[in-house]
């Protein structure tokens, strides 16, 4: 499991709102599936979790499993794998004085358990490819 926390400079209600309504502003720019760095990312109470490029193209990024503002959110998560092999993200929001502790717990599901670990022969094969490619590129650029 991956566990990460951060302390936000606001109360849990605003923290939950920033996480869900303004996801396009915190989602890493180089991890946009539409290729549009200014795409919108929406995490909705209806259950949809998707990205929309400025030209209207949409990509599903997962599903909202649990929507419990302002304390808890659980998402099926496709980036890194795909819809057939989702991982699961639990996001907790807890007041700490005037601030909010956000805790991310990111786990594999049964479908993605094998993919999650690095001891996958196919991943090693792909690393092999990358390393060889790097070596070739280094020679090429010399």
């Amino acid at each position: 499991m991956i566990r990460k926390t951060v302390l936000l400079h606001c109360d849990p209600v605003r923290a939950f709102g920033l996480f869900t309504e303004r996801a396009g502003e915190w989602w890493p720019l180089d991890r946009r599936h539409t290729g549009d760095r200014e795409s919108e990312i929406r995490i909705l109470a209806t259950g949809r979790f998707f990205e929309r490029a400025r030209d209207g193209r949409e990509v599903e990024l997962g599903r909202v499993r649990v929507w419990e503002p302002p304390g808890r959110l659980v998402l099926d998560f496709y980036p890194g794998t795909d819809a057939d092999h989702p991982t699961e993200v639990t996001v907790g929001f807890a007041a700490e004085g005037e601030k909010t502790r956000v805790t991310i717990e990111h786990r594999p599901t049964e479908a993605s358990a094998e993919l999650f670990t690095q001891r996958n022969a196919l991943f090693e094969a792909s690393w092999d490819l990358v390393l060889r490619a790097f070596a070739e590129a280094a020679l090429h650029n010399r």
Binding site: A15, F19, W27, P28, G35, T87, A133, E136
Partner: protein
């Protein structure tokens, strides 16, 4: 399609090796392989959907290049994702 499935095809692995040396268009690749342009386009679409290559428009053609972060193992990919995401979220909460 997942990166692992995309890498399952020998032609796609060969395409990746070519693209790693220099960005190429569909036409450039079609000259190097004994397969049709539409077939090359289909392979590129699979690689692009899997996050292994990216395209950018240059003049009236698209140039394809290898997207190195697409090769990271899932756990590492997600770990880095949250490091960047949470740092950005913290910044957002200060505004």
């Amino acid at each position: 399609m997942h990166a692992l499935d995309a890498l399952g095809s020998p032609v796609r692995r060969q395409i990746l090796k070519k693209l790693n040396k220099a960005p190429l268009s569909v036409g450039d690749l079609a000259e190097k392989f004994p397969v049709s342009r539409p077939a090359i386009s289909r392979h590129l679409r699979v690689l692009e959907d899997a996050g292994l290559v990216e395209s950018r428009g240059e003049g009236n053609r698209s140039l394809y290049s290898v997207r190195i972060q697409g090769f990271a193992p899932v756990r590492e990919f997600l770990d880095e994702f949250w490091d960047v995401a949470l740092a950005r979220l913290e910044e957002l909460s200060k505004r």
